[in-house]
């Protein structure tokens, strides 16, 4: 041991904690949360075959009793399904989304938001799925590298099933593939750092996955009215979803709050929707154990046929941008 008091303290603290290792479960939970945020941009990376979706549809429809329909005339046969208040609110949102204006015109969709209080603008190329991200910042990256094919294209969204059960099956299949990829990637990173071991499955239920995927997809402004409407139907048939009408988002805008508690991560997932259009106003998550919260407030969505400049710096085209204006 060294002879100077400070050196003794230094060495004592090092040696006394050498056997302490960060619990992998904690790390996995935090990383999973970040992957979820990223996956908002990647609302679908998997194309299900019609056969696979059809098979799943049959199973799900049988389990859920099919999509509830309004009763008409005198009851004949099985009694009419009684909708819960949450389902009723979600079907209203679905109806609103189905007749809403839909995607803004133009090849590029520009969405501004406040993420944890800071300005952020995302531009998505509806043809290629490339994503540009700009941040209102001081001394930090103002522009993130272009995420090539980071989002499904408009055409990919349009090709998705709008039957709720088939859509649920697709979301589930996609989620499980993404989960497998994420675990493989985390294990690769551990190996790169010379750490042994495997990453545990997060212990999520199918309903956890479906809620996650559906709310993630609702975020994407490339999603059209029919698919958006179907996603609300999927949520209406997902156990554990709670709905609060007459809510307000972080900016005081009237909203319908859709929430679900994910037990595996002890986190409340929340999304606030515009009751008139079904558009997303805010997404948030709150960890129940320590109250850590993250919020994304969506401020505006607009379209254009030329790639918008960085709104915070007002500079001309930056790295990774196409050479000139593009038309749809």
């Amino acid at each position: 041991m060294p002879g100077i008091d400070e050196d003794i303290v230094r060495e004592l603290m090092q040696r006394c904690t050498d056997d302490l290792h960060a619990p992998s479960a904690v790390t996995a939970r935090v990383i999973r949360r970040q992957r979820r945020r990223r996956l908002r941009n990647r609302a679908l990376g998997v194309v299900a075959t019609g056969a696979a979706a059809g098979t799943a549809f049959a199973v799900v429809a049988s389990a859920s009793g099919g999509v509830p329909r309004p009763a008409s005339g005198h009851p004949v046969g099985p009694p009419a399904l009684r909708l819960t208040a949450a389902q009723t609110a979600l079907y209203r949102l679905s109806s609103a989304a189905a007749v809403a204006a839909g995607r803004p015109a133009g090849r590029y969709v520009e969405m501004t938001e406040k993420q944890d209080g800071h300005g952020k603008t995302t531009v998505i190329d509806s043809l290629t799925g490339d994503i540009w991200t700009y941040q209102q910042s001081a001394g930090i990256p103002a522009e993130l590298p272009v995420d090539r094919h980071g989002s499904p294209t408009e055409a990919a969204f349009d090709a998705m099933p709008t039957d709720p059960a088939a859509l649920r099956a697709l979301l589930l299949e996609q989620a499980k593939q993404q989960q497998a990829q994420a675990i493989a990637e985390e294990e690769r990173i551990m190996a790169e750092h010379g750490k042994k071991g495997s990453v545990a499955q997060p212990g999520l239920s199918d309903d956890d996955y479906v809620f996650d995927q559906a709310t993630t997809m609702l975020w994407n402004p490339l999603v059209g009215p029919a698919l958006r409407s179907a996603l609300y139907h999927v949520l209406a048939q997902t156990p554990g979803v709670t709905v609060r009408t007459g809510a307000t988002d972080g900016l005081g805008r009237a909203a319908v709050q859709i929430s679900r508690y994910e037990k595996a991560a002890a986190v409340d997932e929340q999304t606030f929707e515009d009751p008139r259009t079904g558009a997303v106003l805010e997404t948030a998550f709150v960890y129940r154990d320590n109250g850590t919260k993250g919020t994304d407030l969506y401020l505006s969505v607009k379209g254009s046929n030329t790639l918008p400049p960085d709104p915070y710096r007002g500079l001309p085209a930056g790295r990774g941008r196409p050479a000139g204006p593009l038309t749809r």
């Binding site: 004592l12 050498d18 970040q34 945020r37």
Partner: protein, 174 residues
């Protein structure tokens, strides 16, 4: 976060997680609380990842803030006493002995004020300079020096650690 940032975050946590947990343990002198603080720190880092230039520095500051907040919240509660037992000669330097010393070290750190503890941990565990500690905590370099000195003096007389420091009082020994 884009995919590259997620990978960078994962790489940082994989590389620095152990060190962060150890720092949290020393800052709190409570292994259970340390795990909570470690998780909360990572969560805060994750939500701001793309805005953080130096993640390690960010974590240090966040941990310190959380510890201060918790200390304020717990001021009314009596401090739990840690059981300390004599671990024999701590100068042997082997890991088992060092681990056995942990209760005494944590008890010693726990007897310090939050600021003393932060300064000792940042200065001697994180190997930050006096200027860096002063910047991080928003205090003067002189305060860092004097506080560190008083804190180390207090640790010298902590039961279970006295023998460890005894050699420095004996001329001709290291």
């Amino acid at each position: 976060m884009d995919s590259k940032q997620v990978r960078a975050f994962e790489g940082f946590v994989t590389e620095s997680g152990d060190a962060l947990l150890r720092m949290a343990t020393l800052l709190t002198s409570d292994p259970d609380a340390a795990e909570d603080i470690y998780q909360e720190t990572l969560q805060r880092l994750a939500t701001r990842w793309s805005r953080v230039g130096n993640p390690r520095a960010f974590c240090r500051r966040v941990m310190h803030n959380i510890v201060i907040d918790r200390a304020r919240a717990q001021q009314r509660r009596p401090r739990e006493l840690l059981t300390i037992r004599d671990s024999g000669d701590p100068r042997s330097g082997d890991l088992v002995t060092a681990v056995e010393l942990r209760p005494a070290l944590l008890a010693g750190l726990g007897a310090l004020t939050s600021q003393q503890r932060a300064i000792v941990v940042l200065r001697y565990f994180e190997d930050m300079s006096e200027n860096e500690v002063a910047d991080l905590l928003g205090i003067s370099v002189g305060t860092v020096k004097s506080t560190a000195s008083r804190a180390v003096a207090q640790l010298r007389v902590q039961p279970g650690l006295i023998a460890l420091f005894a050699t420095t009082d004996t001329p001709g020994t290291n």
